[in-house]
Symmetry: C2
Subunit: 414 residues, 2 copies
């Protein structure tokens, strides 16, 4: 069995070309392949169109020995991925009884009745390895023909991702001769081009490990990747380089390594310290609580919070004084301070954080333009308030995300 | 000037091939092109690699007369999109003073100092139309050569999307000879394959307008698209078909047309009715409040809410009685009922909604498996509670999204 040297990803679906859905499968598969040391040279999307699918399949196989296809395995009549790949590889489709049985039992287990059109999903290219789908109805397939490998997976990410982890990776592991280990350095407070300038020489000179900065949602992430025979060696190579980066001016802005996100870094740190958190949100409107509770197990450290969107809510839920709101306004250092303290006391938490500001697009004034946000943290020792002045040109979403991330950073540093 | 008959999208960036970021640009551009009646036959992603970029550019132009490229216009040395396209079209790059000045003023307006490497972004292919970037530093370009058009846009969606709306569309509008109008029917409570079966004949027989169902996050959406010379005609064609669909079994599950999302449908309806809303969230942990406040102007109808994640928070913030929690537990009809009423009274809102359940992956029991969620709505007339039993195989994220969407639906129907 030859090793997979490179792969291409072909996502099938007119809904992708119409922009009705975002292609998260390509990024998911690419990320997992990188970890296996299998480079992806091309991602492509075509519609459920026989002619264009034929062309794309042929093109991909002309460049890569492994083609991963997603989508078009479903029950509807315009799902033709399996048919097109079988045609290209010269294989016939036959009914797979086992797959059919599994599909029937899946439907009954989810209390639904299987419609006739679903049976189409149990047709299998002759000689293909069927990848059982425990998360949906359409099974996947691995087809090996000569030196070509086609891997077919269902389109819904909720099925594709577990299928990839539990069906495809065990198969690919044997076939990969080296691994890439990547570690991510999480940075808040220094922009991408500034980070890039500080690390420019490293980026230019190094080939293994490599350094690459990425920006997003007001944060910067530096990805360090090393390739080696085994994961231990590659991991050590990354650690050594990260130690170097910590010594640069970037160092002071690093808030974690492989922490995935600020919310995850915060939950991990609170769990370590044995502290509890509560939040009072105005302009972020529940985003902080949502991001923290995205993390399974956050209930150990997160007691809850208040979304005090209206002024009345600020008084009723977290006891901001009417005078403060009258005198300083809802978007003020004083209100942020009282919100953080109020929610901490209301819930008996060790730490309270708060946000109040103008997310836009409306509501800005010359004195307080869109992007003006006060964030506060409160502990038994007292309160700390910080003013963020984000560009009014930024979107409502961006301003809310930045405000939430920075507020969590305040709690992280407590 | 010839009309753009079809387009391809080429997104450039090694970070896309490594799966470090999700390609939202391809879906955004595709969606906007569809509305202009310009079909997209292919989306592709390549890395910042000269050889592979050359190949991809040549391939695309062999199929389509318009190629839209995103990314690789930035300041870093591996940003080479502009260079590769200019090479293919045989154009030289020259410094664009105007673009340079704009970039300098952008930096000062956002209070940052422009690093030297940024100047690279002001280089322009000879004869190209420069697309001013008021949302970032890198300008875009439209290059017309013979019958080929290349449109280059910066990669960050926060820059690309306004650039598309305000720079590219005015340019493309003149060039399109027909429009596609699409309308989306939002459905909750009936699955995709069931919807597809009910509408199967329409899907098969109709070519203009067309019908296509999509599933996602526990909802189903049916997209109706019509092509005509003018928007009014196409719009009327869509409306007639939607009227037909309302008469089918799907009809009763429709909650809106072009409402974008359940949260938007809810905010619009509350604004119409002049009602205010408050929410108490346990398993959704702020997701409802976050989704509602994603909508600019939601402050008119949304007063705020409580994230009562811990049991103590349920008592302290929304007055769930200790006895109820003791006797029935945090995940119970009674608790959901008291949460909805409690938050409504606490904030003096017209409507209160609540969620309490087990989002998983941990926390499930034989009696209450992961996916068990109680949702409640409270008004002056009283409370209504509904039990959702989602598949324990579903992800934490999916269960939280479904719970939030269904809770908002309860409020929408009030």
């Amino acid at each position: 069995m030859k090793d997979v040297r490179s792969a291409e990803i072909l996502c099938v679906g007119t809904e992708l070309l119409l922009g009705d859905i975002i292609n998260t499968n390509a990024s998911y598969i690419s990320r997992r392949l990188a970890a296996l040391g299998i480079p992806v040279y091309r991602q492509a999307v075509v519609g459920d169109n026989p002619e264009r699918m034929r062309q794309a399949i042929a093109e991909s196989f002309s460049r890569s020995d492994c083609l991963i296809l997603t989508g078009g395995l479903g029950p509807t009549c315009d799902d033709i991925t399996k048919e097109m790949v079988s045609e290209y590889l010269g294989l016939e489709l036959e009914l797979n009884e086992e797959a059919l049985e599994r599909m029937k039992s899946y439907f009954s287990s989810t209390g639904r009745t299987m419609t006739k059109n679903n049976e189409k999903q149990a047709m299998s290219p002759r000689g293909a390895r069927v990848l059982q789908n425990d998360w949906g109805t359409a099974p996947g397939f691995v087809i090996e023909r000569d030196d070509k490998t086609a891997i077919l997976l269902p389109g819904p990410p909720i099925e594709l991702e577990p299928m990839w982890r539990e069906r495809v990776e065990p198969y690919l592991f044997e076939r990969s001769d080296s691994v890439i280990v990547s570690k991510n350095i999480y940075i808040l407070g220094m922009g991408e081009s500034a980070v890039e300038e500080k690390l420019h020489d490293m980026m230019m000179e190094l080939t293994n490990p490599t350094v690459a900065p990425y920006a997003g949602n007001g944060e910067c992430r530096v990805r360090v990747s090393a390739r080696a025979k085994d994961a231990e060696t590659a991991s050590r190579m990354c650690d050594d380089l990260i130690a170097e980066i910590r010594k640069t001016e970037v160092g002071e802005f690093i808030y974690g390594i492989d922490v995935d996100s600020m919310e995850n870094a915060l939950v991990l740190s609170l769990r370590e310290k044995g502290l509890t958190l509560a939040c009072a949100e105005s302009c972020t409107g529940g985003l902080i609580a949502k991001r923290i509770t995205d993390i399974s197990g956050s209930s150990q450290v997160f007691l809850g919070g208040c979304v005090t969107y209206a002024c009345s809510a600020k008084e009723k839920l977290v006891g901001v004084s009417h005078e403060t709101l009258e005198k300083y306004g809802a978007v003020s250092e004083q209100t942020a301070r009282e919100m953080a303290r109020g929610v901490r006391l209301a819930l008996g938490a060790d730490i309270g954080i708060a946000t109040t500001g103008i997310a836009g697009p409306g509501g800005g004034t010359p004195e307080q333009p869109v992007g003006t946000v006060y964030i506060a943290v409160s502990t038994a020792e007292g309160e700390e308030v910080k003013l963020l002045t984000l560009s009014p040109k930024r979107s409502r979403e961006f301003i809310r995300i930045c405000a939430a991330t920075n507020a969590m950073k305040l709690a992280l540093n407590t």
